[in-house]
Symmetry: C2
Subunit: 315 residues, 2 copies
Amino acid sequence: MTKLQTAQTATVSPSAQKMLAGFKYFNLPRFIKITPRLINRIRTQFQSGEDPIEQSLIKDGNLTTTTLALNDVTGIRITGASVNEDGPVILNIHGGGFIMGTARERTALLAATETPFPVYSVDYDLAPEAQAPQIVNQVLSFYRGLIETVGNRPIVMMGSSAGSGIAAAVVEQAHAQGLRLPAAMVLFCPALDVSGNGDSSIFNEKRDVGSAKMALRLAKAYIGANDQKSPIVSPMYGEVGDWFPATFMSTGTRDIMLSNVARFSEKLRHADVEVTAVIREGMWHGFNWEPKLPEAVETRQAAWQFIKQHVGETL
Amino acid sequence: MTKLQTAQTATVSPSAQKMLAGFKYFNLPRFIKITPRLINRIRTQFQSGEDPIEQSLIKDGNLTTTTLALNDVTGIRITGASVNEDGPVILNIHGGGFIMGTARERTALLAATETPFPVYSVDYDLAPEAQAPQIVNQVLSFYRGLIETVGNRPIVMMGSSAGSGIAAAVVEQAHAQGLRLPAAMVLFCPALDVSGNGDSSIFNEKRDVGSAKMALRLAKAYIGANDQKSPIVSPMYGEVGDWFPATFMSTGTRDIMLSNVARFSEKLRHADVEVTAVIREGMWHGFNWEPKLPEAVETRQAAWQFIKQHVGETL
């Protein structure tokens, strides 16, 4: 990552300054072939870092996690001590570049800690074992099952990074199939375009914590035989109308996916959809899942506030 | 300006692609001293380019312009053929890096063309002949005069670039003095921090149409003896509360001032002020004043829509 100048450190929190200074830029050199075995190694390494963090979030948040299956798709249900079992629920679609991560990810745990909403988080199959249409259909099945489970309670669909891309694709499919749509969407650092298009995939290469080029190479495992601009993998190119749920999106000025927020905001605005876009100074891809980083805490609070406004629930 | 890659041109309009390809990057080499004489030459050159454009905007928009003085501060009043003389009015504060530009600038003319609102645009003295406190006070006097002139009609304060910085400083002053505040603010590509702080003053250097470093050097003529972070010159550092008017801001991913929008949005949100931030893919500093560029037209429409929502006027 390029060294920060004073003009850049002056405008982020001290915690962010410290994190930015400590980041190890993540890239895979071009000559390394992305094989299932490599992906497996990345997964294991990633998860071994996440496990203790997830465990402490569960402990600190006094959370209860229960595995469940909806329409044969597995997931977990996460609730905090002061859960409201009559109000809205969150359906979380985890991030991890389509190739790693689990339903128990931080964002799901933090949502259950910081809101009264029960969080249902889906454990979709990962790429390359599964590919786009299958994964989108799995999440859609889980969503159908959730509608049946919660009845009239509003459902908020939430995703991070790859999970946000899946979320938007699922909503486009749900609309096409005449399903009841979520009451609101919360899309953190959304991967809405896996074609590589976007100003920020160029200008934030080497400024973010990981490489945009590498993310695109990994996404190929998800895209499979689909066109990179097919809405099933890149919902940026899908048809949206005023039926699309009110949407909250967040990103940071260092995020390789900033342009997705810029572009999708316009697309939704153009379709008369209510949209709130939060672009945080100096923040990187996935910053939203940091438990204590002030910028992340504030961004999540803005998201919970947005949910509150759109489902009429007092937080 | 750095050459654009396909991933970057694919996401902007054909007109924007053409403009981006044709831009001549504007910078002043370090060894050139910024003298009043040089500033005068920049002004003359700038205005000779603007004059024919302004004249054709007046003609095409069938606009009437009348010079006026409010509390001894001069300005112009611009109205279109279908002006509404009972509704809200716009107070425009022109851009031009504090050292150039006039009240007749494009943004004022376009607002009078695209909305039914009469536009009052103030001709504040320019730097280095005048400096920050004097300029802010002039605009404040003009604003006071406008309140007396329009009575109960809502006033929307609008600025571009340097003008947005002045606008925010004026509102902070107006609040401190107990004046009636504008009903809403529209801040295009706002210069809210002349200290140079901000991620985008680094990452968009050489990506925008002009240099951030040069803009800061020119702003010194405006800052004078003030601290660069004094709220009078950098309203980013001012005290804001929920009294601050609902604010629309716009910027682009190439704008050297993008970080101002990111940071000021957070500041306002934190103070419980309603804020809409539009960040347009691939757009540069000041793109909003292009008469026909689709991205600019849409951004202005979003601003007029925001005004409509906050003053209850049908456009």
